[in-house]
Each structure stands twice: as C-alpha cells, then as structure tokens.
C-alpha cells in the first residue's frame, strides 16, 4: 500500500518547503514562539524535535499492524513521552546550561502537534523508510522555520547571530539601538506574524507565475 504513494525522497523534500510544518501547516506554534530568542536555543530545540520525531515515527511505523484505532493516540503519546524523557535527560547531562534555558519547553515536545500529526498522518500508514524520510524532512522544515524567526529576533534584539556579536555590541554607544522588544514575548508574536504574511505572499506569487507560464505554454501548443 505504501508503494503507490510518494517515494521516501519525495516525502523528505515535501516536508522542507511545500509542506513546511510552521509556515504551511501552522503546527507546533508553542516552541516556535518560545525558543526563538536566539539561534543556539532554536537549533537545540530543532535537534531535540528531530530525534523525537525520527524515533517516534520509526517505532509507530514498526508497530502499525498492531495498532487498535481507539487506542492509537494514547500509544503515540506514550511513545513520544518516552523519547522526550530520553532527550531531556541527555540535554541535562551534556548541555546543562541549554537545558536550563529551554526549561519546560523540552518536555512540552510531548504535546507538540507536529509529532502527533506526523505519527497519525504518515507513520501509522507507511513503511519504515517512508516514515524515517518524512521525519527528517519535517524536522528540517521545522529547523528552517525556527532559524528564520530566530535570525530576525537575535539580529534585531541583540545584534548577534549564534552568539557572535555582529553590531550594537554591549557597552558601546550603539547598544541603545537594540530593539529590546524583539527579545521579549511580543517580538516573537509580531515577527512570526509578519514572516507568515511574507511566506503566504511569496507562495501566492510563485503560484501565479507558475499558472501564467502554464497558460502561455498551453496557448503556444494550441497554435
């Protein structure tokens, strides 16, 4: 049944831009807003989501024959919770400061809609390679979205990128130009809102250009 759908490569590519979890599907908004104050936190979060989504998708795909319809959400949630516990303990052991900074948002991956949605839509119906490719593609799309928001917020809020001070350094007269609001909650909402608008606008204009080209080609063939 898995063979007539998209191949693993297509699944992988689809997750990155055309079905981007944040900009296209509006999933997983809580971490998207909460951990994008700087690039380091955003990338750690993406790594944790990649690990959890990959493991949960593979396990769900392996046991898809055994799932009972009315219990499947519970099974998904418990599988995810197990892997989130592993990721949380790993971060606490090896990246202690980052784990403190991310705080409750690592355990909140359990209720992240991206993972439950991918388990439900993809992994519970397809073979392991499909599910694995889908997990990596979706996580890359998520990482890309997080990176775009975190770049804007960190550049405007602190004048740095990945912790490297580029301009508006602390202690200099230029520090006053920082948009301190960008490092705070309202900045997250406004940045995401504007980027979402930009994504929709770019998507629409691509779609329009593609249609015009197709129409021109059709007209050419008709002649």
């Amino acid at each position: 049944m898995a063979n007539d759908g998209p191949t693993p490569t297509e699944r992988f590519l689809r997750g990155v831009i055309p079905e981007n979890p944040v900009y296209r599907q509006l999933l997983g908004m809580c971490p998207t807003l909460a951990v994008t104050g700087n690039m380091k936190a955003a990338m750690t979060m993406s790594g944790a989501v990649l690990f959890v989504l990959f493991c949960a998708n593979v396990i769900t795909s392996l046991i898809r024959g055994l799932l009972k319809p009315h219990l499947r959400i519970l099974v998904f949630t418990l599988t995810i919770a197990t892997f989130v516990t592993i990721a949380d303990r790993f971060l606490a052991a090896y990246l202690y400061r980052m784990s403190k900074e991310l705080g409750a948002y690592i355990p909140l991956i359990i209720v992240n809609c991206i993972i439950i949605c991918r388990c439900e839509v993809c992994a519970s119906r397809q073979s392991v390679p499909h599910a694995a490719a889908d997990a990596v593609g979706q996580s890359l799309g998520f990482a890309l979205a997080l990176a775009s928001i975190a770049t804007v917020r960190e550049l405007l809020g602190a004048g740095s990128w990945f912790g490297v001070q580029l301009f508006w350094a602390k202690g200099t007269a230029a520090e006053q130009y920082r948009w301190s609001i960008m490092a705070q909650p309202p900045g997250a909402f406004i940045t995401l809102g504007l980027l979402l608008g930009a994504a929709v606008w770019i998507g629409n204009s691509w779609e329009k250009r593609r249609k015009t080209r197709a129409a021109v080609r059709e007209a050419g063939e008709a002649d």
Binding site: C30, A34, N112, P185, F189, G193, L194
Partner: protein, 264 residues
C-alpha cells in the same frame, strides 16, 4: 498571613504578569484556532480552566506522594521488597512526563464522562473542545511548573499553592482568549492586507496584546511590599533604589511604538 500573601502573589503572577498565553506561549493552538467568536472563546476558556484545575490537583498528588525523591508512598512500597537505607534514593522522577500525560488524558476522559452524565447542558456547550484539551500544552505546562516547585524546592509547594496557580492560570487564559476574540470580531470589518489575513494578523494582534500585558510587570513586587509592610507604605527616600532601575523603564518605554510601527 504570609501564606495568604504568597497565594495572592501566585494568583496575580499567574493570571496577569506571567500570563500563560502571552508570556510563556503555551496554549497557542486554541488561542489562534478557537478565538474567532466570543462565545466559543469563552467556552474554551472555561473548559481549560476546569481541566487545568483537576489535572494540576492530580499531578500535585502524584508528584508529592509518588514521584519526588523519597516520596512517602514509593518508599513504603519499596520497603516491601528491599531494605531502603536512604529514602532519597527512591526516585521515580524519570517517569514524571509519562505519568503527567497519562493523568491529563485520563482526567479529560473522566471529566467528559462525568459532565455527560450529570451536566448534559454544560457538556453540550463544551462540545468538541473537551477532547481537544488533552493536547493543549497549557495543561502540561502547569503540571511541569508545579513539579518544578515541589521537587527539590527549598519550600515545597503545598496543595493550596498548586490549586491557586492552576485556577488563576486558567482564568488568565480565559481573559486572554476572550480579549482576542473581541478584537477578532471587530477585525472582520477591517481591510487587512491579503497575505496577512487569518493567522498573520492574529499573531500581530497577539503581539500587541502581549505588549499591553507587559505593563503588569513588577506589579507583584509592589503588591508584596504593600501587603507585607508593617507600617502603611509611605513614600520615603529609601524606596527609590528598590524600584526597577530607571534605565530599564526608559529603555522599554519608547520601543513598543517603534517595533509596532517600524516594520509596517
């Protein structure tokens, strides 16, 4: 008296200052999804308040008696099988996430069954929102917040503090989602740029709302000083350094207009 002051501070801080939606970004999905109309938004707020209270109560009980290192029940059970020399070595906190998600899912289930049996009208008005709440991060966040305050804290939270946090966090969520729904009902009559329609403009409005809620920052400190002072608070020279540094206030004040108006 000190206990009551503590409760009031927890209440104010969880409902207004550190509003779950606008400060911690939890519960964003219903905040964006169910805020189109005022009455459904209010229903969602009530349902969340209801479930968050029950789930927090249960998770406090589980954390305090079973999950925390050296918890009474786990130590007693462990003593049945092995000799336990150091009670703190019995530590089940690694299971906490699984237990919490189980508690939330089952309490939503039970609340649903109870309401359907005894309050059919209320059940009908909640509709599909009740099962949706299982995956609402606000509930899990409240459980985790309480765990953080119980496990390894100097003064572990009692059940009173946990309940206060839960109820007022739920109320704060209700306030935020109702304000949002009120604004969105008016937005229907506005000419919003095409690409921003829907989620985009809602997020920007939420940002401006979060900006307004930032005005509550520091309210807890003032309230604490007013409530715990032996003599009625009078303006003395000694007060000045206790306030947040002037530079901080001056730094934030002109920015909002800049951030709102700049990118448009």
């Amino acid at each position: 008296m000190e206990y009551a002051v503590g409760l009031i501070l927890i209440a104010v801080s969880s409902a207004l200052i550190n509003n779950f939606v606008l400060h911690y970004f939890v519960g964003i999905c219903p905040f964006l999804g169910v805020s189109r109309r005022l009455d459904t938004a209010f229903g969602m707020g009530c349902a969340v308040t209801f479930v968050i209270t029950i789930a927090s109560l249960l998770s406090w009980v589980f954390t305090y008696f079973i999950l925390q290192p050296g918890a009474g029940v786990s130590v007693a059970v462990a003593r049945l099988f092995v000799t336990v020399e150091d009670p703190a070595s019995v530590d089940l906190s690694i299971l906490s996430y699984i237990v919490y998600i189980f508690v939330i899912a089952s309490s939503v289930q039970f609340v649903e069954m109870y309401l359907r049996k005894f309050f059919p009208t209320l059940y009908k008005s909640f509709g599909v929102y009740l099962p949706l709440i299982t995956t609402n991060c606000a509930i899990l966040f409240a459980c985790l917040y309480i765990m953080q305050k119980v496990v390894g804290a100097e003064e572990p939270w009692g059940i009173g503090q946990a309940l206060t946090l839960a109820i007022f966090a739920g109320l704060g969520f209700t306030v935020a989602i109702v304000i949002m729904a009120g604004i969105r009902e008016e937005l229907d009559f506005c000419d919003v740029p095409g690409p921003l329609k829907g989620a985009g403009i809602t997020l920007i409005v939420a940002g401006i709302l979060a900006l307004a809620f930032m005005g509550f920052a520091g309210m807890d400190r003032g309230l604490e000083r007013a409530l715990t002072a032996d003599e009625p608070p009078v303006h003395k020279a000694g007060h000045v350094p206790e306030f947040p540094p002037k530079a901080d206030v001056g730094d934030n004040a002109p920015r909002p207009g800049n951030a709102e108006g700049g990118p448009r």
